[in-house]
């Protein structure tokens, strides 16, 4: 019985893949009053469906290790259903239905974690519902103008109307991607969610916000050129969006560096990485959009890999803070490689595909001449090296800092299989960036009526600003690495391992087992001394939202005093209102 449920669940997780491969033809469902839902797979939605199709089974596999939990499985199924509806929807009603189903089912999944506290749960659902209601408001506004709910280009709008629409929609989607200052819910929920579900949230659900943002150019094909034209080589509205994205990325990166919990760090890193995508979307050229899609793909793979690996570490050690781990490299070697590949992708280092994505986005910015944005993006992406290093040093290197870290063993195979698959995918994408362009990204660009980027060969990433060859790069690096290592070992001389981990140059002293030698939590703390970073880290939005909650509660309390318990007061009020209204109306003679 147990096994059957699990197999059923595993099968369910393949539904996005099934939809992706077998979908043919549009489906319509008439709802009421002339509202008809239509579903179809466009190139754009197919791209995101592919991400879902990759991610869902990979997360399902490690979930099988846990005790079979029917209601969680059912919620997952609903979540997947919602996301597929949202991607397939050809009109806003269907989009909204999917969006909301995704929101509430993920909320209920979030609640299943024992770590979820009231603030986390409430901020998750309220921010996401606010996003949904903004979306609803936007689509109603659109409907009131065009008399149509379909997702299609609207033209002939008044500029003011267009601006309202744009603000409503982009706010809705920016909340979902966790752009600053609307990100409060992201670190809380990613941190508190069940460990594997965090992977889902970060890798897949944040992409739905990106999908939403990518619909906007579909809606307004001519952008906002009538307001203030183009700024340098890009749309003005996009310039604002791009700054939002890059500021989000920068601040979130610094916040990530200062985290002491692995999952919180990854949460902030998610915000930052998605911020890049927002920036690239703001540029809006085909190079930048291609970069955004590439980054979406890479981020999905990387975050799946990292969250699943971290989940494995937490499972084996029970610890999630950098201070409590260390030296797992020899005990969990595959996980080590998982995180290693993950952070290389995250940092955007060549030869992994993170670099290809960054390259496209940088070139997009340079092409648009938006150099200040480029500088800010470089700041964010260089600063991300620090947290990437922290992420691998904290758990795997240095000294073990807790008894569990000293005795942990490699994660179970259910965790390792997805890790290995994802590592393979990342490496392959790194070697063949042209393949991704040719097969995955160009169809979407063509679907969006943009010039495809094109790739001369599958190994090459090429733009009119120059390109690079993934195969050459990877083979040069690998050859040199192998040759150097071989050469080194051939040279005469002994190498032997240090007698003990405490055999260190330590200021002339001999450290003992209780000398604090792990640098995990302290790493990056000295960054606060840099004025800008210190300023950023001293400020949070938590206070603002807490204040808002407090004020609402206070207002509720004040109004609540009206609801006393004495019936005579109720009646007195009614009679008074009657008398006053009557008098006023009689006097004014209305």
């Amino acid at each position: 019985m147990n096994l059957i449920t699990k197999l059923l669940f595993l099968g369910l997780s393949f539904t996005p893949a099934a939809t992706f491969f077998t979908w043919d033809g549009a489906v319509a469902w008439s709802l009421f009053n002339g509202i008809t839902l239509s579903f179809d797979l466009t190139p754009l939605s197919a791209f995101f469906m592919l991400l879902l199709a990759i991610g869902a089974p990979l997360i399902a596999v490690p979930m099988l290790r846990e005790k079979s939990d029917e209601s969680a499985y059912a919620l997952y199924a609903l979540l997947l259903l919602g996301m597929q509806l949202l991607l397939l929807a050809g009109d806003f009603i269907g989009f909204f239905i999917g969006w909301e189903m995704m929101t509430w089912s993920s909320y209920l999944l979030l609640l299943r974690s024992p770590r979820t506290d009231l603030e986390g749960a409430q901020s998750y659902i309220l921010f996401n519902l606010a996003s949904a209601f903004l979306l609803l408001a936007g689509m109603l506004f659109l409907y009131s103008i065009t008399d149509d709910f379909r997702i299609q280009a609207v033209d002939g709008l008044l500029t003011a109307d267009k601006l309202v629409l744009f603000v409503l929609f982009s706010l809705a989607f920016l909340i979902k991607v966790g752009a600053l200052p609307l990100h409060l819910w992201v670190p809380r929920s990613y941190d508190q969610a069940p460990d594997l579900f965090s992977a889902f949230l970060s890798a897949l659900m944040s992409k739905m916000g990106i999908y939403g943002l990518m619909i906007l150019p579909l809606l307004f094909p001519d952008g906002f050129s009538e307001i203030s034209g183009r700024f340098l080589n890009g749309p003005v509205a996009g310039y604002v969006l791009a700054w939002i994205g890059v500021i989000t990325a920068t601040i979130a990166t610094f916040k990530a560096i200062s985290q002491e919990d692995m999952k919180r760090l990854l949460a902030y890193s998610s915000i930052a990485q998605v911020g890049y995508i927002v920036t690239a979307l703001g540029v809006g050229s085909s190079l930048a959009i291609g970069g955004a899609l590439f980054q979406a793909l890479v981020h999905t793979l990387v975050k799946l890999l990292l969250f699943i690996t971290i989940a494995g570490i937490i499972l084996q050690t029970g610890h999630r803070r950098f201070t409590d781990l260390g030296q797992l490299i020899s005990r969990m070697p595959i996980s080590f490689f998982g995180v290693l590949i993950g952070i290389i992708g995250l940092a955007g280092m060549p030869p992994l595909p993170g670099f290809a994505a960054k390259y496209l986005m940088y070139v997009g910015l340079i092409e648009a001449h938006w150099l200040l944005l480029l500088a800010a993006m470089i700041l964010a992406s260089t600063a991300s090296f620090v947290y990437c290093y922290k992420l691998i040093y904290g758990p795997f290197l240095g000294h073990a800092n807790s008894p569990e870290a000293k005795t942990a063993t490699e994660a179970p195979w259910q965790y390792l299989i997805p890790q290995i698959i994802l590592m393979g995918m990342l490496v392959a994408l790194g070697i063949f960036p042209g393949w991704a362009i040719d097969v995955l990204i160009d169809p979407v660009l063509i679907g969006l009526n943009m010039t495809p980027i094109g790739a001369p060969t599958w190994a090459q990433l090429s733009t009119n600003y120059g390109g690079y060859d993934g195969v050459v790069l990877m083979s040069v690096f690998a050859t040199v690495f192998v040759l150097i290592t071989a050469l080194f070992l051939l040279i005469r001389g002994n190498m032997h391992r240090a007698a003990s981990p405490y055999d260190l140059s330590f200021c002339g002293e001999v450290p003992t087992a209780d000398t604090p030698l792990h640098y995990g939590a302290g790493m990056g703390r000295e960054l606060r001394r840099v004025p800008l970073i210190g300023w950023i880290l001293r400020h949070t939005t938590t206070g603002f939202y807490a204040g808002l909650t407090r004020q609402t509660q206070a207002a509720a309390g004040v109004i609540g005093t009206l609801y006393g318990s004495n019936p005579q007061t109720w009646l007195l009020l009614a009679v008074l209102i009657f008398a006053v209204t009557l008098t006023i109306q009689s006097v004014t003679g209305a």
């Binding site: 060549p350 600003y465 790069l473 290592t485 981990p501 200021c507 640098y519």
Partner: protein, 303 residues
């Protein structure tokens, strides 16, 4: 194929030789400024050989061993992706398969790999040094890339070859046509060379030896070798970008040496900055200049 192999070996050999000679010169130069005699110009070569042939090397686990290998592979890859000569079939390596942005990123691949080894050693001072290095990187990379981006915008390409080809004569050197870009990036460039006054990361006094604290013997030799080669690669890159590249080896040596001299002069003249001072400095002066440069050359197209 044979062409590639010979070419690559030539590039590596040339980088290595130039590297130890330049560093030897630097030690002489520094000594003379400080009124000392200083060691021989070949001293760096001797030191390096001595390290490489030490009989005893202590390692702290496999990652500790692979770190230097990664950094060396990274350095070699970088060298091979920088075109050394203009209008020539030789000393090109694989530079046609790469571009400027790729090279900038390749520059940091090795150090990041090595950081793993440092972490693996378990010495907190090493990790502290790595963190400082990353912090400095964060500071210098922004103005550095902004300066290079100004050049890329100017030539509308990220290909080093194309940028080199566009600088036909002295008047068309980017140094002359885009001086702001040069000023913006030159100081961060020096920092990326680990040159004083931005060298607190590896400075033996401030931190008890920095990232390399645990390395000894042959591994230290590897690190030293890659450092010398990487220095030359960066100098060549800047010469390519701003000094019009070089058609002959002698021109190349002259141009890179001029840049190296500039670096050495700055190094000996200024006191060392703390990490956060470095970062703050880069975000104020060069980056400020960069913003002015962007406004002057990109936003207002009169220039």
């Amino acid at each position: 194929m044979a062409h590639y192999i010979i070419d690559a070996l030539a590039m590596l050999g040339m980088s290595y030789v130039m590297g130890f000679l330049f560093y030897g010169f630097y030690r002489q130069f520094n000594a003379r400024v400080q009124r000392r005699w200083g060691p021989s110009v070949f001293q760096n070569f001797f030191d390096n050989m001595k390290f490489l042939f030490k009989t005893e090397t202590i390692i702290h686990g496999p990652m500790f061993f692979f770190g230097p290998m990664i950094i060396f592979a990274g350095a070699v890859t970088t060298v091979l992706f920088v075109p050394y000569l203009k209008d020539s079939n030789w000393l090109q390596g694989f530079s046609h398969s790469g571009n400027l942005i790729l090279i900038i990123y390749l520059l940091v691949v090795g150090p990041l790999g090595n950081a793993l080894a440092v972490g693996s050693s378990g010495n907190p001072f090493g990790v502290m040094g790595v963190t400082r290095g990353l912090t400095r990187l964060m500071g210098l990379e922004v103005p550095f890339l902004l300066g290079l981006a100004l050049v890329m915008v100017q030539h509308e390409t990220a290909s080093v070859h194309a940028i080199m080809a566009a600088q036909t004569d002295f008047a068309h050197w980017n140094l002359m046509t885009n001086p702001i870009a040069f000023i913006v990036m030159i100081l961060p460039f020096m920092a990326s060379q680990h040159a004083s006054p931005f060298d607190v990361v590896g400075a033996p006094v401030e931190v008890y030896a920095g990232p390399r604290v645990e390395f000894s013997g042959r591994l230290l030799g590897v690190l030293m070798t890659q450092n010398m080669m990487m220095t030359v690669a960066k100098l060549v890159l800047i010469a390519d970008l701003f000094l019009g590249g070089a058609t002959t080896i002698w021109a190349l040596i002259a141009k890179t040496f001029a840049l190296f001299l500039l670096t050495a002069a700055v190094s000996t003249s200024f006191p060392r900055l703390r990490t956060e001072q470095t970062v703050d400095f880069f975000w104020k002066i060069p980056l400020g200049l960069g913003v002015i440069g962007v406004i002057a050359t990109v936003w207002f197209p009169w220039s």
